[in-house]
């Protein structure tokens, strides 16, 4: 049996639902030799800004139970170097490229979009409005549906490319943020970015991360991410979603699809095992084959839930 792995997220068609998450896959090219870049569903590159950004002073990362904290601070080569030097190479490899972008202000987002223009080598734009690791840098948009709506509206006008908005799990009401983004023109939502965490170096009584807090990623956040995907899917069943958060195995991929994500992004797992994304593509096909699934798209949002019972009390 040959399994149809193709998925469609609104205007974005992917050869399979396994993408890699921004900030965990560099500009893709670093994984040559480990992963067939053209065989992945998509590659979301490290968050790009209008000028090269130095990021935060170290220490920037630390390990925590079942995951890590990071406060990279959005270090990146800048949109121009990306378009001039990396995109052509990625394109030559047949990679489906998602340009993850950010800015400190609406204008900065728009400026990045204008530089990209309608470059057909970019399959989609992903607005990072949810990086918890910079003093400015988008987080304000992620935590305030009004600011988010304004930003997405301006970006929607500034690009014709498929527009993905990546949501923050830190805002309390992920559905409100999702609605604001979609009502303002987002084609696709990505969820989730990292959760704000703290780890302490006890001997020094200092945070392990120079920025004090860092974003929690890895298996630790998977149940939260799955819940948010399910919640947004239930509230907005027609909005295509990228699900992510602690994906490591093909079972994890399938859990996200079943919860309502049309495709997934693999993040922190790339650090532990640089081969993981490529392997997941193969394993997904094999799983579907074994389970008699012809089209992986048929699995999306198939979670069966029951009405929630109210608790009952003993008779008085």
């Amino acid at each position: 049996m040959s399994v149809d792995l193709a998925v469609r997220l609104g205007p974005l068609a992917l050869r399979n639902p396994i993408a890699t998450a921004s900030g965990t896959f560099g500009y893709g090219l670093e994984f040559e030799g480990y992963v067939d870049l053209g065989g992945l569903g998509a590659i979301s590159v490290k968050g790009l800004s209008r000028r090269p950004c130095h990021g935060n002073p170290p220490p920037r990362i630390c390990e925590v139970d079942a995951g890590m904290l990071n406060a990279i601070g959005l270090q990146n080569i800048g949109i121009d170097t990306f378009l001039g030097e990396r995109l052509p190479l990625l394109h030559a490899k047949g990679a489906t490229v998602i340009a993850n972008i950010w800015g400190d202000t609406e204008d900065e987002y728009v400026e990045v979009l204008e530089r990209i223009g309608d470059d057909a080598r970019v399959a989609a734009i992903e607005l990072n409005v949810s990086c918890p690791n910079v003093v400015k840098g988008g987080m304000v948009f992620g935590n305030d549906p009004v600011a988010l709506a304004a930003l997405v509206k301006r970006c929607r006008v500034a690009t014709k490319l498929p527009l993905v908005v990546k949501l923050s799990p830190n805002s309390g009401d992920i559905v409100a943020a999702a609605r604001a983004a979609v009502d303002s023109g987002a084609d696709i939502l990505s969820l989730i970015n990292t959760l704000v965490g703290l780890a302490i170096d006890l001997e020094r009584r200092e945070p392990k991360i120079g920025f004090t807090t860092g974003g929690l990623s890895g298996p630790a956040i998977r149940p939260i991410a799955l819940r948010m995907v399910w919640e947004v899917r239930r509230a907005l069943p027609n909005v295509p979603l990228f699900g992510m958060g602690g994906i490591e195995t093909v079972e994890n991929v399938l859990e996200f699809l079943v919860a309502g994500a049309t495709a997934v992004q693999v993040g922190t797992a790339n650090f532990r095992d640089p081969f993981v994304s490529g392997r997941l593509v193969k394993e997904l096909a094999a799983w579907c084959d074994r389970h008699g699934v012809d089209r992986v798209a048929d699995l999306v949002g198939t979670l069966k839930t029951r009405p929630r019972p109210e608790h009952t009390f003993a008779k008085a």
Binding site: Y34, K46, R60, E63, I72, N270
Partner: protein, 268 residues
């Protein structure tokens, strides 16, 4: 291009409660390794440790005839503790060789260089000593630790370099000079000795002191830096050090071996 391989544990040699050598099959990594390279090792498939850990490839050698990589490890936490306990034959995922190795191509028979190790910083200097010795380069080792137990693999260094070229310093005087390893080096420099290059690995205070010495003596250096790493191959941007040009440089990809002049010590 670094390789990822499942390499079997060949043996573990314990020096004391907190130091050991771990020997694993060399696989195809061995032949690619140059002094100063490191590898990322996954210690078990559990969640603790979660990420791989970085270790200098201390030596490329053989164990009972089998080509082997040697790692010299100090137990400081969960990963280094776990790696100590794998039975012979356990397959360990190893990604390597990684990073920019020590620059040595320009060295020949007439050259003299200094090697400075602080504590577990000996690791990358073992293979360096072997290779320099094989080339006939004169290398002098200055190796400091808290006490005699902290100073590892003396027999190897003395075999490669000659015992008279190995000087030790310990905090408690239990081996060599009582005091700092930098004092050993400083004494040689004050006596007018010159070195074509200074290779060093150790804790940040040692690097800082050596950077000052190198500036004063106008010494060329290559420092094998450490930093907490998530990926080891340049994608997480977690391992950076402040660079002189205002940027942050990745230790795993632009390093780990960097001249001291590349680093902005005021921001470290």
């Amino acid at each position: 291009m670094p390789v990822n391989e499942e390499l079997r544990v060949l043996k573990t040699l314990s020096y004391d409660a907190t130091h050991y050598s771990l020997f694993v099959q060399a696989g195809s990594i061995g032949a690619l390794t140059r002094p100063g390279h490191f590898a990322m090792l996954q210690a078990g498939d559990g969640l603790r440790p979660y990420l791989r850990r970085a270790f200098s490839i201390a030596d490329v050698t053989t164990v009972a005839g089998v080509p082997a990589l040697e790692f010299v490890v100090k137990v400081v936490g969960v990963g280094t503790a776990a790696l100590a306990h794998f039975a012979e034959g356990t397959p360990l995922p190893v990604l390597g060789p990684l990073g920019v190795p020590f620059p040595i191509d320009d060295l020949g028979r007439d050259d003299r260089v200094a090697l400075v190790a602080g504590g577990i910083g000996l690791a990358p200097l073992v293979l360096l000593s072997r290779v320099l010795a094989a080339r006939g380069v004169t290398a002098e080792l200055f190796y400091g630790g808290r006490n005699e137990k902290d100073v590892l693999k003396r027999a190897d260094f003395e075999r490669f370099l000659g015992a008279h070229r190995c000087a030790y310093a310990t905090d408690d005087g239990s081996l060599g000079r009582k005091g700092l390893v930098t004092e050993l080096l400083q004494r040689e420099l004050s006596a007018g000795k010159t070195y074509k290059r200074l290779y060093a690995c150790g804790p940040v205070p040692l690097f800082r002191a050596l950077a000052r010495i190198a500036d004063e003596a106008d010494l060329e250096t290559s420092f094998a830096l450490e930093s907490e790493m998530a990926c080891g191959f340049g994608v997480c941007l977690g391992c950076v050090v402040p660079a002189r040009d205002g940027r942050f440089a990745t230790v795993c990809k632009e390093g780990p071996c960097l001249p001291h002049t590349a680093i902005d010590w005021s921001r470290v």
